[in-house]
Amino acid sequence: MQGRLIAFIVTAAASASILAYGIFREEIGEVMFNAAML
């Protein structure tokens, strides 16, 4: 269970970092643009 807890903390931190970096790169605008071009 200790291993799972560490794995959760690592994956949660990594996913939050990747998401924040995506927002920082203004990918949200690209997502909206893609949805509008369908």
């Binding site: 794995a7 939050a16 970092s17 990747i18 995506g22 509008a36």
Partner: protein
Amino acid sequence: MGYLKRRIFQVLGAVLPNSYVQGILTASLYQGSLKSVCTPLLNCYACPSALFSCPIGTLQHFMVTGNVPYYGIGTLSAVGATVGRMTCGTLCPFGFLQDLLYKFRAWKVSIPAWFRYFRYVVLAGLVFLIPYLTHENWFSKLCPMGTLIGGLPWVTLNVNVRSMIRALFWVKISILLFFVTTSTMVKRPFCRAICPLGAIFSLFNKSSFLQLAWNPDTCTRCGKCRKICPVDIRPDRNWTNPDCLRCLDCTRCPSLKLTTVFHREPFGVPGTSPGTAEGAGGLSGAAAR
């Protein structure tokens, strides 16, 4: 989670992301700010009533343009790290459709567990590699959910779209019919063997915040949990199975419960568990349903 409660969540998962009624009435797409949000469901954003973006379509778009989809990967991994595959089991509209289709009286068959590896091949091939190489959204072109709530409504609503029908449309229809037919015989065939979104979420099942816990002290190994499981697995043998949808149908048995990764002893101190073996009979009614 009760059986009825999960069905209510599934109805909400099907209706709320597709509640832009004006899109159907005027044959147009919603282009507001909600389209910047990737919904953690297999829900086509080309559907006239779709409010959110498809996460798989978003990942492919970035691969087509030669960029790394940080926002899409970050969103999906954040959801996966929190709930694992729970959105597949409780919200996904295509999963809901397959659950309903399996209720039809038909010849029932099981598929081997190794079919799950196909979904990782689909994820790597049709979502990442082939779109990057060919600059075409190949998974979206073939997605049965896209055909059902995107392709078919547009063909019905718009004459111009109808005139653009080519051989690929009939391939898409064939794929949709294949999964509709097999869903009457096999539990959730698309989710188990093909779905790239499920493939991403399944990577987090072992380490997600929400976890399924099993109590060996009270479990009678009756196997009723497998009968009611929508993906035909035995949670008492592997409660962190990557196929597990976290639908919580099996938690009607007192030997299984939803817990969090922070709980070391979810059933209390061993040997003092309040659960009893006869409580496993709680699944009898559900198995017969």
